[in-house]
Symmetry: C2
Subunit: 107 residues, 2 copies
Amino acid sequence: MSDLPPAKRDAKAELESQQQVFHALSHPARRQILQVLRFRGGSMTAGQIAARFSCSWPTTTRHLNILRKAGLVAFELEGRERHYKLELDYLANTVDSWLNCFRDSKA
Amino acid sequence: MSDLPPAKRDAKAELESQQQVFHALSHPARRQILQVLRFRGGSMTAGQIAARFSCSWPTTTRHLNILRKAGLVAFELEGRERHYKLELDYLANTVDSWLNCFRDSKA
DNA sequence: CTAATATTTAGCAAAATTGCTAAATGAAAG
DNA sequence: CTTTCATTTAGCAATTTTGCTAAATATTAG
């Protein structure tokens, strides 16, 4: 791996993290988790999140993992709770930077 | 189906079209098709699009179908060619309207 | 009508995703 | 140290997605 010039390596890495973000956003449950987090001030425990969803707790955990690997949420341990927090700027910036190419330049 | 008050039915329909858009955007080849279209002025034949991708022509056709059902592209027949065009506004508006909830309100 | 061109649909196998239940981890309370 | 609480990991079955090749469709050219 990494037998590429820095510029290309970076571009590739950026494409990959973009892919992780868009993949994470493709499942309605995951978008909803982000919205609930946003709505509740940006931070909740795993239990509070899981309680709001109809799917099983482990399924929610997995969605949270996908969101975390994509960089859209992060958590901090507090005793035996995990406080997940929304990575608001990363979310908005990543999507925006892709979407900007498609914004009407005539506006 | 459709045994719901109009407001809820509409909300549900909107969620569903949002889902189709985000699902369509989750595959790198599909995002790339949109970018190529954008880059080339918003309109290309199926053949011109397929020629730019490493996957087989039928595979590209399927990606185009997914994009079309999501409302992100549309085509017009011109002889035996299909001219696909980018639905720029729908793309930007759909993604934006979801993303707006996550834009920092303090800015 | 026949051949060629542009593109799609059909149908299949491989891979990825989802959701579940059961078991595991790790911190805290008794 | 044993139990309890909060949460995750493991492992499996069902479904969906992807990509391929082969066959079909439709339009134009000869």
